[in-house]
């Protein structure tokens, strides 16, 4: 091997001369030690000297055999796997490796090849990772475009059916009305899905903008609870609101926080058949903590793992529930995190679920006279 092979991932294989040089050094050391030993005997008397000598010989023998067996194993493995190394070595090295019977040469080439292979694998992983990131961006672009393209036909379908159901083109009988309403309800879900997908796409592109102001979280909670009052009554449930102080001012985007509360309270209602939903809001240092706890069906640990992932839905197939989009919680989590808050979930199957989120308290407005 010439010195031209200076790639830092290659070990320069030992040539015959340097091997000889190493053995010469070993020989010198091994002749100096016995001389030292003779001096030791001369000083301490023959008895202790002989014990020391015997121990030393044993030590040397043990060392020799263990190293030899280790090296033999390494050599065997290296020799047996010579062919597999070819793709990772230069052609001339491969030839040298195949012809050589010098064990050290084989071993060092093997070592180089293994390291080279590592290097290749890491580069390959880097490339794969880049490809995946590109694909992820493409997916986001796709979702964004599709969502926009959906809006036009949805508008036409929705408005047509609305106008028919309003009797704009003639009287509608009860049976016909039933199906028109069914269509409108489904168009509404589709619209919600499109809106959610657009939100997700904005979040992923970093284009989800917040308009933050000092707002009263308590008022929003009451508003959201009020909007659900009909549904609550229909299911024979109860919503208890416990605000520890009023107002509970947070620095946040009102529309977006309303969206989060609608999502969390809506979920609680959807998955609770008896008992109550408790909403608590309390000031905790620099944050307002809001807890939404229900006595619903709860979730298995498996569900909790994927709860905040895109399009994840917890199966509940009794046919009466309106289907969700599987995006609500992902969006809620992002909204809370964009506010520098946190969202947590605790749940037990058959007992209930508890969501907790935090939002920073209101900031003092500058230049505002009391």
């Amino acid at each position: 091997m010439g010195p031209k092979n200076k790639n830092k991932f290659f070990l320069t294989p030992l040539d015959e001369v340097s091997v000889l040089r190493k053995f010469a050094i070993l020989y010198l050391i091994s002749s100096i030690i016995p001389m030292g030993l003779l001096y030791f005997i001369y000083v301490n008397g023959p008895k202790i000297g002989i014990i020391a000598m015997v121990l030393m010989v044993i030590g040397v023998l043990v060392g020799f055999f263990s190293i030899r067996s280790l090296l033999t194993k390494a050599f065997t493995i290296a020799k047996e796997n010579r062919e597999g190394l070819a793709p990772f070595l230069k052609p001339e090295t491969v030839q040298e490796l195949n012809e050589s019977e010098n064990e050290l040469t084989i071993l060092s080439h093997t070592f180089s090849a293994v390291i080279k292979q590592f290097d290749n694998n890491i580069n390959e992983l880097k490339k794969k990772n880049e490809e995946l990131q590109t694909l992820d961006h493409l997916k986001d672009d796709f979702v964004n475009n599709v969502s926009h393209e959906f809006r036009m036909p949805l508008t036409i379908i929705q408005e047509s059916i609305r106008q028919i159901s309003e009797g704009m083109f003639g009287e509608i009988n009860e049976e016909q009305m039933k199906y028109l309403h069914m269509s409108l309800k489904n168009i509404e879900s589709l619209k919600k899905l499109v809106d959610n997908m657009l939100d997700i796409s904005k979040i992923k592109r970093g284009k989800f903008e917040l308009i933050k102001k000092n707002i009263d979280l308590g008022a929003i909670i009451k508003e959201v609870v009020f909007s659900f009052s009909q549904k609550v009554e229909q299911k024979g449930l109860e919503i208890k609101v416990d605000l520890h102080s009023e107002p509970l001012e947070v620095f946040a985007d009102k529309d977006k926080i309303t969206q989060v509360l609608i999502n969390l309270v809506g979920n609680a209602l959807k998955f609770t058949d008896k008992g109550l939903i408790e909403i608590t809001a309390i000031k905790n240092n620099e944050f307002i903590e809001c807890i939404i706890a229900d006595t619903g069906i709860g979730m298995a640990p498996k569900d909790l793992t994927y709860l905040f992932s895109d399009f994840y839905q917890i199966g509940r197939w009794d046919g009466h529930q309106e289907k969700g989009t599987g995006l609500g919680l992902v969006i809620s989590k992002s909204i809370i995190e964009l506010h520098n808050g946190k969202i947590l979930v605790e749940s037990q199957e058959g007992i209930g679920t508890k969501f907790t989120f935090t939002l920073p308290i209101a900031v003092e407005e500058k230049g505002k006279t009391p």
């Binding site: 926009h148 036009m152 809106d195 969206q259």
Partner: protein
């Protein structure tokens, strides 16, 4: 009876908005492209123009520029019709869109008839 001009390249949508507005006692004229829309505005002098943003050939933004450059149509109130909402929240009262550095009132598709009518009433000062 107030006169409203709808400019949108989607004839299906034009028909539906026309139905909706006529039902609410407005007189409706329409056009399916920006340039023709401008000509119709000059000819009929409506009380309000509902303008789509993305249209082939002459876009909504360019059509508005034409309207603004003409003495007779300069002060016509304009309501944009768009799929690109600046405010995605469903319950926020008024959406706006930035066209050529100016904010205009906008209605997002899919639209709520009540919101569309409220925006029209506001712009007409009714």
């Amino acid at each position: 009876m107030k006169k409203i001009l709808i400019v949108d390249d989607d004839m299906d949508l034009v028909q539906l908005v026309k139905n909706r507005l006529e039902k609410n006692n407005y007189e409706v004229i329409y056009s399916t492209d920006g340039e023709d829309g401008f000509r119709k505005a000059v000819e009929h002098l409506p009380d309000l123009v509902i303008m789509d943003v993305m249209m082939p050939k002459v876009s909504g933004g360019e059509a508005v520029k034409l309207l603004k450059s003409n003495e007779t149509t300069r002060y016509l109130p304009i309501l944009f019709f768009t799929v690109l909402a600046t405010n995605s929240a469903n319950d926020s009262e008024s959406d706006e869109i930035n066209v050529g550095g100016r904010l205009y009132p906008a209605i997002t598709k899919p639209f709520e008839p009540s919101k569309l009518l409220a925006a029209i009433k506001k712009l007409l000062g009714e």
